[in-house]
Structure formats: C-alpha cells, structure tokens
C-alpha cells in the first residue's frame, strides 16, 4: 500500500470512528495535581477516542457555580464539575439538564449514593474524597480528633483552608460540629479559628498551597482531604492522614450536564467516561480517590490506601448542601470577619 493510501485510509477510519471530530467541549477542573490526574484519566483518553477538543477552565466549585449562574442566558460550560454539592442547587435552579440513565453506559455500576437524582439534573459522582487530618508524621503521632486541632502547641504549624474552597468549608463545618456547633450555629467553630489564628495558624485558599506548606514551610497539621494526603505521600513526604473520631465528611465530586448547550450528546459521553471503571481506577491510582463504580477493581497498594465499599461510604458525614448554599453568603461574611487582620 502506498503511503498516501495508508494515510487516507487511516484518516477515513478516524473520521468514521468519531462524528465528534473537531467539536469542542468546555469544562472546569480544579487545578493542581487534581487537574493533572483529571487530564490523564479522563480528558486526554476522551479526546483521543472521540477526536473532540476539550477546553479546561480552572475554577473551584464555588467559582464555577457563580460563573454558571452569571451565564444563565448563555452558558459557556458543557460539563461542570462540583465538589461542594452545588449540583443540587444548580439543578433546582434549572441550570443543569436532567440525565437519562439509559444514556450512560456505565451507570449500572454506580453505587446508589453516587446517583441520587440523575433525572432531576444532579450529575453522577465519579469520585469521593474523605476529609480528615493531614499531619507531618515525623513530628506528630497523628491527631485522632477534630478537637485536637485546638491544641495551642500546634497553632504555629497549623494550616487552615479558606471557605472559598469546598474542603475548607466542609472541614470547618466538621470542626464546628465537633466543638458543639451545628449548621444553625457556626460560632463555636469561628471562635476556635480566631484562637488558632491568634496563635500563629495560617489560612491558604488552594490545594497547591497546602502542599507547599507541608513541603517547604514546616506545616505539622491541616484539616484537609485524603486525595492531597495521597499526592503528598506520593511525592515522598512523610505525611499521615487520619479519619478523625467525630466523623469524616465525604466530598462527592460530580460531573454535571449544563443546560442550554448544543453539544449535550458529546458532553454525556464525557460524563459517561468519568464514571467508567477505567477512569476511576486511574483516578484511584493517581490521587487515592474512592471509586463510585463497583466495577472499578483496585489492586495492591491502591486498594489498601483507598476507603471503598458501601460500608465505608455509608459512614461518611454529609452536610446538607441546600443549607450550605442558603447560608453560604452569611457564613463567608462571618468567616471573612473572623480571619481578617
């Protein structure tokens, strides 16, 4: 076969394989190590399989949700990923499209908790993160309780996360609850945070900053997530992760279909790939995420490091996303006043 013929044949094959060739999807991702894994496990394989082009905008959930709301009349995202439960509110506001379970080939493997309301527009969760206590294992034995964070001896080496970050919000709510507060009363948490800051604790906003604090700036302990504990360990740092006794908030990362976009069929394919066993095994290997698809089989070390199974998922605390969205503005305001110098 002449080279030209080969070329044209393979070109034809590629074209036939993908009606999506040349189409563009716009999605958000969360930056840092997460975005790298996201590209490796989902985005790049998706582009290769479909020939579509995926544009990634780095935006955390709260940011992404704000953008989605602002673009109500002319949405720019095709698929939007949330970690803070924003899909529940976004779906209620009609910003997300209902998903017909039949349109997702991998839907049957999903655990019940990962697909609470597809028909209502809440996208499936493709990974679950546990929030607990990250600590420097060379310095500390490992805190066992959320209330241990109020130990003044640790304040100078304690890293807190801003409320603009889902992990920060959820970790704060858990600390607040452990200190006797509730979703109706976050004052106990705020008082504790004020004390920590007076004692020298610092506040950061993003995951890479948390990593930097542990890697370079002598951080001992931080209420944060299992995925970044995994990434730090992977980088060779002596980082431990404890699920604290009072409870482990679970963060459900969801892939949602944005309403009013022309490429919904292609977007659904991307969502389908997110919940596929291959993508979830890859994500578990890269970041230690608990898969939500029972067909995702983890082996060896990955299996040991990843909480998985219906019993592990059932034990996770979930704060009511509806209440969080209703009170977010008030809380963020109170939080800002508390942390402001």
């Amino acid at each position: 076969m002449t080279p030209i013929k080969t070329l044209s044949l393979s070109a034809a094959a590629t074209l036939m394989a993908s009606a999506a060739f040349g189409q563009t999807l716009t999605i958000n991702s969360f930056g840092g190590a997460y975005e790298e894994a996201h590209r490796k496990c989902i985005i790049t394989p998706f582009e290769e399989a479909t020939g579509a082009n995926v544009q990634v905008v780095t935006a955390y959930s709260a940011d992404g949700f704000a953008q989605l709301r602002a673009q109500r009349d002319a949405p720019q995202f095709d698929v939007i990923h949330f970690s803070g439960g924003q899909e529940i509110v976004a779906a209620a506001e009609g910003l997300l499209s209902p998903i017909d379970p039949a349109s997702l080939s991998n839907v049957d493997g999903l655990v019940e908790a990962a697909r609470p309301n597809l028909e209502g527009g809440e996208g499936p969760s493709y990974s679950i993160v546990a929030l607990g206590l990250l600590y420097n294992a060379e310095v500390l034995d490992g805190p066992a309780n959320w209330t241990d964070l109020t130990n003044p001896e640790w304040f100078e080496n304690l890293v807190l996360t801003d409320m603009s970050n889902t992990y920060g919000m959820q970790g704060f709510l858990m600390l607040n609850q452990a200190l006797g507060g509730s979703l109706d009363d976050i004052q106990p948490g705020l008082d504790a945070v004020a004390e920590m800051l007076d004692g020298g604790a610092i506040v950061v906003s993003t995951s890479p900053e948390i990593m930097q604090e542990f890697a370079q700036n002598d951080a001992w302990v931080a209420p944060y997530s299992s995925d970044y504990a995994f990434v730090l360990q992977d980088a060779g740092l002596p980082i431990g992760f404890n699920q604290a006794a009072e409870g482990t908030p679970g963060v459900y990362i969801t892939a949602n279909l944005v309403a009013g976009r022309p490429n919904q069929e292609l977007a659904l394919q991307l969502i389908d790939r997110s919940i596929s066993p291959e993508a979830q095994v890859c994500f578990a290997e890269e970041m230690g995420y608990a898969p939500t698809n029972v067909n995702a089989e983890l082996t060896g070390e990955t299996a040991e490091n990843t909480p998985f199974g219906a019993e592990a998922l059932a034990g996770l605390v979930r704060f009511d996303p509806q209440v969080i969205e209703e009170r977010r503005s008030e809380w963020v305001d109170a939080w800002n006043r508390t942390i402001a110098r």
Binding site: A62, A66, N157, Q212, D218, V332, D333, N336, R337
Partner: protein, 273 residues
C-alpha cells in the same frame, strides 16, 4: 469625504471599543449598585459605610496604595534621573532593564515573591539565621508583602513616566544652577524636581490607580486574611453572589480613585503653569 468625516471614521473603532468594553459595563455596574429588591436604593452603600469591617478594607486599600506610590517615587525618581543623564547606549540598557519585568506575567513575578517571602524563603530564613525573628516568622500574608510585590510590579510605570519628562529638561539649566553655587542635591531639589513634576504626577496617578484596583498581587501575597477592596469585590461576586453589594463596592472604589485624582490634577496644573 471631508476631513471631518475622515477623522470620524478613524476614531470610530476606538470609540466603539470604548463604548462596548468600558461604558456599557460601567453603566451596568452603576445600575446594579443602586438596585434593590424594591426599586432604587442606597442600602448597599449604607451597608458598606456603616460597617467597620468594610471601612477597614477601604482604609487598607487607600493606605497601601499611598505607600506603594510613595516607594515607587522614592525608587523611581533617582532611577529616572540617572537614565536621563547617562549616554544613549546606557539609557537603552537601563530602559530595557526597567521594561523587562513587564514582559512576564504579573502572576509569575508575584510567584517569585512568594518563594522569597514565605516561611522557608530567602528573606525570612536569613533573618531567622541571624536570630532576629521567631521560628514561624514569615513575610507572606502581610501588608509589607503586598507593598514589596506591588512596588516591583508598578515601578516601570513611575520610572518611565518621569523619564519622559526628565529627557526634555535642558541639562544646561542644571549646569547653570551648579555654576551659580548650588550643590548637587540642591540643584536637583530646586531645578530638576520642580521641572519633573508633571512626570511625577502622571506616574503617581498611574501607580496609585493601578494599585488601588489591582487584585492578583494583593490576593496572592496578602492571602485571604489581608483583604483589599478589589479582593473583597471578587469575593462578593464569586462566593456570596451578592452582585449588588459588589457593584456598590466597585462604585466606591471608582469614586474614591476619582476623589484622589481631582485635587492631584489641580495641584499638577498649578505646578505646571
């Protein structure tokens, strides 16, 4: 086609761009700022002005912008003077040196400062080695960090504004002052400085307004705990989704900057004339 028509045609693209990209959003912002659930209202402004927290944020913005302008002037004036007095070849190199940082993104320059100022960064660890500061000392997330970072970012605007004016000052004036018995500093103070005022004013205005409205550097170096007005607006827009209040804050920032500009321009005019 008459000259007038031709001119109009030439100015049209610029005008259109201004209208679409500047006046329309500003108008929208003004509308938002005065919009309440029941018709026009001043509530958002009352909320801002009646709240110590937000007044504190405003005060910090003004204070830091003033400090940044001051330091840019202190560093930029001698720099511009030297640049104006050396030969053309050396001037070219100096100008390149001043402009070079502008070629990289402000995020990257700021990130450099984050590395230098953080707890294990060059400056805090050196101070710690000399036993001057405590173990957890860090310059990150302080007002000083914002000033340091912003001065570096904005210095070119000041230096180049002054340089433009300085180059037009006849060196013979200074020479004359020196032959009449002025010392070097006296000559600079009584001859060069007054003649350079228009450049100083232009540079200061640029630096002040840019730093009052800048967001990236203060946010990265100040962290979530040291908020300036632009960061506060960003938070209202993206987190609490209170756009009306955010717009009101933007109007206050806008008005504040105008308020500073007007007397400054008057002053400059008097000095000029």
């Amino acid at each position: 086609m008459t000259d007038r028509q031709e001119n109009l045609l030439l100015v049209l693209p610029g005008l259109l761009l201004l209208a679409v990209a500047f006046f329309v959003p500003i108008a929208q912002m003004l509308v938002l700022a005065f919009q309440g659930p029941e018709g026009p209202t001043l509530d958002h402004f009352r909320r801002f002005l009646g709240d110590e927290f937000y007044l504190g944020v405003l005060w910090r913005t003004v204070k830091l912008s003033t400090l940044i302008t001051f330091w840019c002037l202190i560093i930029g004036f001698p720099l511009a003077y030297i640049m104006a007095r050396v030969g053309p070849r050396a001037r070219l190199w100096l100008v390149v040196m001043v402009i070079l940082p502008l070629m990289t993104s402000v995020v990257i320059r700021t990130f450099g400062w984050m590395v230098v100022l953080s707890r294990s960064g060059l400056i805090p660890s050196t101070l710690r080695d000399f036993g001057l500061v405590g173990r957890s000392f860090s310059l990150m997330h302080t007002e000083a960090a914002i000033v340091i970072g912003m001065v570096q970012v904005l210095l070119p605007f000041m230096a180049l504004s002054i340089l433009g004016v300085m180059l037009r000052i006849d060196p013979r004036l200074e020479e004359a002052a020196r032959t009449m018995g002025c010392g070097f500093l006296q000559a600079v103070r009584t001859v060069v400085f007054p003649l350079a005022v228009p450049g100083i004013v232009a540079g200061s205005l640029l630096v002040f307004t840019l730093s009052a409205s800048s967001f990236i550097t203060p946010n990265l170096l100040g962290g979530p705990r040291v908020q300036v007005l632009a960061a506060s607006i960003y938070r209202q827009v993206t987190q609490t989704l209170d756009w009306n209040f955010a717009a009101a804050q933007a109007v206050i920032l806008f008005a504040g900057v105008l308020l500073v500009l007007i007397p400054y321009i008057r002053l400059a005019r008097r000095a000029d004339g």
